[in-house]
């Protein structure tokens, strides 16, 4: 079987390269508009407020690597992106095994199973994703903001993947804010005060894309109760061999058609 594939590859090298390039552009098939890929360093799920509206966005700090190069918004401390225009990405090779113990079952896979986590303690090789409300002035807000998970979809979900958001206490026990494995409800939320900043572990259990929808609510002292909803996208890069095999398969189809 492998021998046949090798012979096919030899004939189809130029064709397969063209097909693979096309595949990278179209896989996974739920990509919409062109998205910048954030691959490392610090950025935040940002909460802004403008003209009476809560404005969810990504706020990437200077030095965060997007599209392979560090962003620099100087003299500002960073660069902002609409949620749909930026995608934090974690490579397949950066998986970690789910820890043992029933307290970790919320993750949605068995102990030892691979998970892909954007960590709360910075790893320079990965996006360091915080939750940031520093653009907001504490005296303006009567309540902290509540960020609630309201929906999740995408190829990662279709593949059976789950999302969870958690921190760990001083002894390493998980403190869970959101977990899609046991269903999505109002319980899947966390809070952040205006002006504050916090880091979490953002965990995914299968490769693929995740479109995660959050609702953000808070009470403005003068303007009253406010809410906004936005979908943020995350990517867990599938295993490289998946691309190669798919590429070979399509290349073989193309060759077969040409032969006819």
């Amino acid at each position: 079987m492998f021998g046949i594939l090798l012979r096919v590859m030899k004939f189809l090298r130029p064709l397969s390269i063209a097909l693979l390039t096309t595949l990278f552009a179209i896989l996974p098939h739920d990509q919409s508009a062109a998205q910048a890929i954030w691959s490392s360093e610090h950025g935040d799920f940002g909460i802004g407020y403008d003209d009476g509206d809560i404005e969810p966005h990504w706020h990437l700090h200077n030095g965060a690597v997007v599209g392979g190069a560090p962003v620099d918004g100087s003299p500002e401390d960073g660069v902002e992106f609409e949620p749909e225009n930026l995608m934090p990405q974690i490579p397949f090779a950066k998986s970690t095994a789910r820890a043992g113990g029933a307290e970790w079952d919320f993750v949605g896979v068995a102990a030892g199973h691979a998970t892909w986590v954007f960590p709360a303690a910075e790893d320079p090789a990965l996006p360091f994703i915080g939750l940031g409300a520093e653009e907001l002035d504490p005296p303006d807000w009567s309540t902290p903001f509540t960020v609630t998970l309201t929906g999740i979809s995408g190829s990662g979900v279709t593949a059976g993947g789950f999302f969870s958001l958690y921190t760990t206490d001083s002894f390493g026990a998980p403190v869970v804010s959101m977990a899609s494995a046991n269903g999505i409800s109002a319980a899947d939320h966390t809070q952040i005060a205006a002006g504050a900043h916090a880091h979490y572990n953002w965990a995914f259990t299968q490769p693929g894309r995740y479109d995660v929808t959050f609702e953000i609510t808070g009470t403005h002292g003068a303007d009253g109760a406010k809410s906004a909803s936005a979908t943020y996208r995350f990517n867990v890069v599938p295993e490289p061999s998946t691309y190669a095999l798919l590429g070979l398969g399509l290349a073989a189809l193309g060759w077969a058609r040409r032969r006819r």
Partner: protein, 382 residues
Amino acid sequence: MKQPFLASVFCVALVASTSAAEILTSHADIRFDYLTANGTWDCHVQYGGSIEEPAVEADPESVAFPVRDLPSSGAGDRYAQPGSASFSFTGTPAGQPLWILPQSDRGYTWPGFDNAQVAGTFLSYQPSDSRTTTAARWWKISLVSVGYSGASSGSPHFSLWTTGAGGAPTVWMATSDGIASTDCYYTTENSHSHLNWGFTKLGVYRITLRPSAFLANGSLVENGDHTLTFAVGTLATWRATHFSGPEIVDEDIGVPLADPDGDGAANLIEYAFNTDPNVPSSAPLTPGSGTSGLPAVLLENIGGTDRLTIDFVRRKSASNPQITYHPEFSGDLATGSWVAGQALSVTSIDSNWERVKVVDSQPAGTRRFARVRIATQAEISY
């Protein structure tokens, strides 16, 4: 050379320092920045600040990080060492109290490390330290020393660790096995991070740190030791409130038996009776209504007999003051002659203080003496 302080010489008042430390009870970052123009590292503690107000950039010796001696299940920072082998690095046995400032914000003192450099100042490399897993523009914070000033009779230990996405701790610094070059925290250029800070005894900890990095040209820059003060428990926090930096541990200024304002009341007495250790005063408490002052002794007719009474303010035991109050009476001041008084009333003043009145069990007679003796607890049993 320090001169021994003469408690009885009231006319020589040591000029008390009023440089009290700012007690930081929320997010505060220890910033180490390498100043390329000077070739030195700078250290500030940055706190406060919002979109509307600039943050305060304080000299590290002017601030202190308090650690509350209350259960962590409530508004406190006292935990129990969980007993798994992975936490023996903390330096205290399983089940023993462990005071921790947390990696994740719990709404109180929350120290972090911060750095701001022109991007590319530091060399990108992979340190030969298994706690780092990739090449990056690393810099390092090394533990130089930990000074301790407190009542504990055991060995106080300090440790610094992070818990990862999988829960297992990464230990950066731990004094329980001594201080070596591995007691260091690696972090990256322009990063901001939070860690768990652990302390095994009540008291004041003076932690000296040294930043270092390789510049992009490969040269090592390592200078500028800075000391941070952590105050674990009520007594330590009081000392840090009234004295700052090196004064807290200065034998003539901030230690419990020093009397920097020269008013005859040592710091421990000023702590016990809610007076200011930097302002000389021997004013007694106003009986029945006062909230601060030395114990007031009166001759009163109680139940038909003239007896001595003592009115004094007392720190509530629920606040874990680390001292006990012993109101006592004697006929002749002889050692061993002091006998406890009888409680007449206890009136709550606020969440931390109460006012107590006790009476001599003996009638006044020819002469009687009264005192309140303060004893320090080396450890508190909770």
